[in-house]
C-alpha cells in the first residue's frame, strides 16, 4: 500500500496507460459562456450568451459522458469553460462527477465564488482550484476583461477559497495589456505562498484565426525582457538549459499525451485530443465513448507534420505542436513565424545564461 499525490500517481501511470491507450486524464469544457470578456480568450463565441446556452450539453449529458470516461479509465478531469461556475446546474454536475471517483481540478476566474458556494465546495473539495488572475487593478481588468469590478471579486474569491482550506493555484496569461502588472501578480501569489504559473502563449481559434490576438500578445522583444525579468524564478540550472537545446530535434511534433492518455470534451460535446484542437473530433454521445476514443486515435494518426519544425535547430526551445500550428496558420504542416521568433529569443536567452 502506498499513499501518493494525484500528480505523482498520474505521472507514474502515464507509461502504462500510453502502452494500453487508456485515457486517464481529461478536460470537460462545461460551457463557452463567461461573465468576463477577455480579449485574448480562445473560447469566446460571437453568439449572444443565451444562444450559446441553448446549444450546451445538459447536466445529464455531461454526467453520461463523465460516467463513460470513468468506466474507460479516467482518473482525473479538469472542469473548464468559459466560466464553469456560470452554469446554474454546476453543483449537480460536480457532485455527480465526484461520486464517480473522478479527482477534479476546477478552472475558474473566481469572480462567482461566494461564501455560500465555497462552503458547499468545501464539503466535497476538488483536488485543486486553478484561478486565473489577469491583473492587479480594476483598470487592467476593465481594459482586458471588460469588467473592472471583476478584479475585487477575483481577489475575494481567492481569499474565500483559502479561508476554507481549498487547495488553490494561481495562473495568468501575460499579454501587452497586463505585462506591467505581471510582477505584482507574481508577488501576490508569493505572498499567499501559492503555486503560480504564467503563460505568454495566446492562441487564436478556428473561427477567427489569430486576427484578434496579433496585436494583443507580447512581441518577441517583450518576451526577451520578460525572460530577463523572471530569470531568478525559472532559470537557475545551466545544465538543464544545455540539455533543452539538444532535446527533441527530429522527434514527432505530436508527442504529447493528447489522444494517447488524455482527452478533451468541448462545450459542443465533441471529443478532441486537447483544448486547442477543435478537430479532428468524434462524438461520444452519438457513438459511445469507447468507439469515439478509438476513432479519435485513428484520426490523429493522419495529422501531417511540419517538416521545417521537426528538424529545426531551435526545436528544444519551441512550444510547437500541430494544434498551435493549425491555430496560427490554418494548417498542421506550416511553420508559424511568431513561434519561430519566440523560440529564437528563448535560445538567445539560454545562451546568455549559459555564457555567464
Amino acid at each position: 500500500m502506498e499513499n501518493k499525490s494525484l500528480h505523482q500517481f498520474l505521472e507514474e501511470l502515464q507509461i502504462k496507460a500510453a502502452r494500453l491507450s487508456i485515457p486517464i486524464y481529461g478536460g470537460f469544457e462545461l460551457t463557452s459562456r463567461c461573465n468576463l470578456e477577455c480579449r485574448m480568450c480562445y473560447v469566446k463565441g460571437k453568439c449572444p450568451q443565451r444562444e450559446l446556452q441553448k446549444q450546451e450539453l445538459s447536466a445529464d449529458e455531461w454526467i453520461k459522458i463523465a460516467s463513460s470516461a470513468a468506466r474507460n479509465g479516467a482518473l482525473a478531469v479538469f472542469l473548464t469553460g468559459g466560466e464553469p461556475l456560470i452554469r446554474e446546474d454546476f453543483k449537480e454536475i460536480y457532485e455527480a462527477m465526484c461520486r464517480l471517483g473522478l479527482r477534479i481540478t476546477l478552472f475558474t476566474n473566481a469572480t462567482l465564488i461566494t461564501e455560500e458556494l465555497v462552503r458547499w465546495l468545501a464539503e466535497t473539495p476538488p483536488s485543486i482550484v486553478d484561478v486565473s488572475l489577469y491583473g492587479m487593478s480594476e483598470d487592467t481588468y476593465y481594459d482586458l476583461c471588460g469588467w473592472g469590478e471583476a478584479y475585487g471579486r477575483t481577489i475575494n474569491g481567492i481569499e474565500l477559497l483559502l479561508k476554507h482550506g481549498i487547495t488553490t493555484r494561481l495562473k495568468t496569461t501575460i499579454v501587452k495589456a497586463n505585462l506591467k502588472e505581471f510582477p505584482a501578480i507574481r508577488d501576490y501569489a508569493k505572498s499567499l505562498n501559492l503555486e503560480f504559473t504564467g503563460t505568454t502563449l495566446v492562441h487564436g481559434n478556428l473561427t477567427e484565426g489569430i486576427s484578434y490576438i496579433e496585436n494583443l500578445r507580447i512581441s518577441p522583444e517583450q518576451f526577451y525582457e520578460l525572460c530577463i525579468e523572471t530569470r531568478d524564478d525559472y532559470v537557475n540550472d545551466k545544465a538543464v538549459i544545455k540539455e533543452l537545446s539538444e532535446r527533441q530535434k527530429g522527434a514527432p511534433l505530436m508527442s504529447c499525451s493528447a489522444a494517447r492518455t488524455s482527452f478533451f470534451v468541448n462545450w459542443k460535446g465533441h471529443l478532441t485530443p486537447c483544448p486547442l484542437l477543435e478537430k479532428p473530433f468524434t462524438e461520444p454521445l452519438k457513438t459511445g465513448y469507447e468507439a469515439a476514443w478509438n476513432e479519435l486515435r485513428r484520426l490523429i494518426a493522419g495529422i501531417p507534420e511540419a517538416d521545417k519544425c521537426v528538424n529545426c535547430e531551435n526545436r528544444g526551445f519551441c512550444a510547437v505542436c500541430p494544434a498551435k500550428l493549425y491555430l496560427e496558420t490554418g494548417r498542421f504542416d506550416l511553420h508559424s513565424e511568431y513561434l519561430c521568433k519566440i523560440a529564437e529569443v528563448k535560445r538567445l536567452f539560454a545562451n546568455s545564461v549559459c555564457n555567464m
Partner: protein, 87 residues
C-alpha cells in the same frame, strides 16, 4: 472494525487505486496505490467481511500458506489503521 466510508476502489490501466470521494477528500487529498492482493483484501473489507474470513479467502485464492497470509494480512491492516482508513 471496518473501512471508513467514502473511499472507492478503482482499476485504472491495470493498476489498483483507492480514491477518496465526498468529504473524505478533506482529510485525505491523495490516492492509495494497492497491489492485486491489497485490492482483493480491500474489496472484501468493503463488503464487511471479517479479517478471519478474508484470511481463509486469501489461502483459497492465492498460492500461499496460512501463516504467511496471516502475517501479510496483519501488516496490511496495520498500515490501513496507521493511515486512519481502517478502524
Amino acid at each position: 472494525m471496518g473501512l471508513k466510508d467514502n473511499f472507492m476502489l478503482r482499476e485504472i490501466a491495470g493498476t489498483w487505486v483507492v480514491v477518496p470521494i465526498g468529504q473524505r477528500v478533506i482529510d485525505f487529498n491523495g490516492l492509495i496505490n494497492l497491489s492485486e492482493t491489497g485490492a482483493f483484501i480491500w474489496s472484501r473489507l468493503s463488503q464487511g467481511e471479517s479479517p478471519e474470513d478474508i484470511l481463509l479467502d486469501i489461502v483459497e485464492n492465492y498460492d500461499v500458506d496460512k501463516e504467511t497470509a496471516a502475517r501479510d494480512l496483519g501488516e496490511f491492516l496495520a498500515e490501513l489503521k496507521e493511515a486512519g482508513i481502517y478502524e
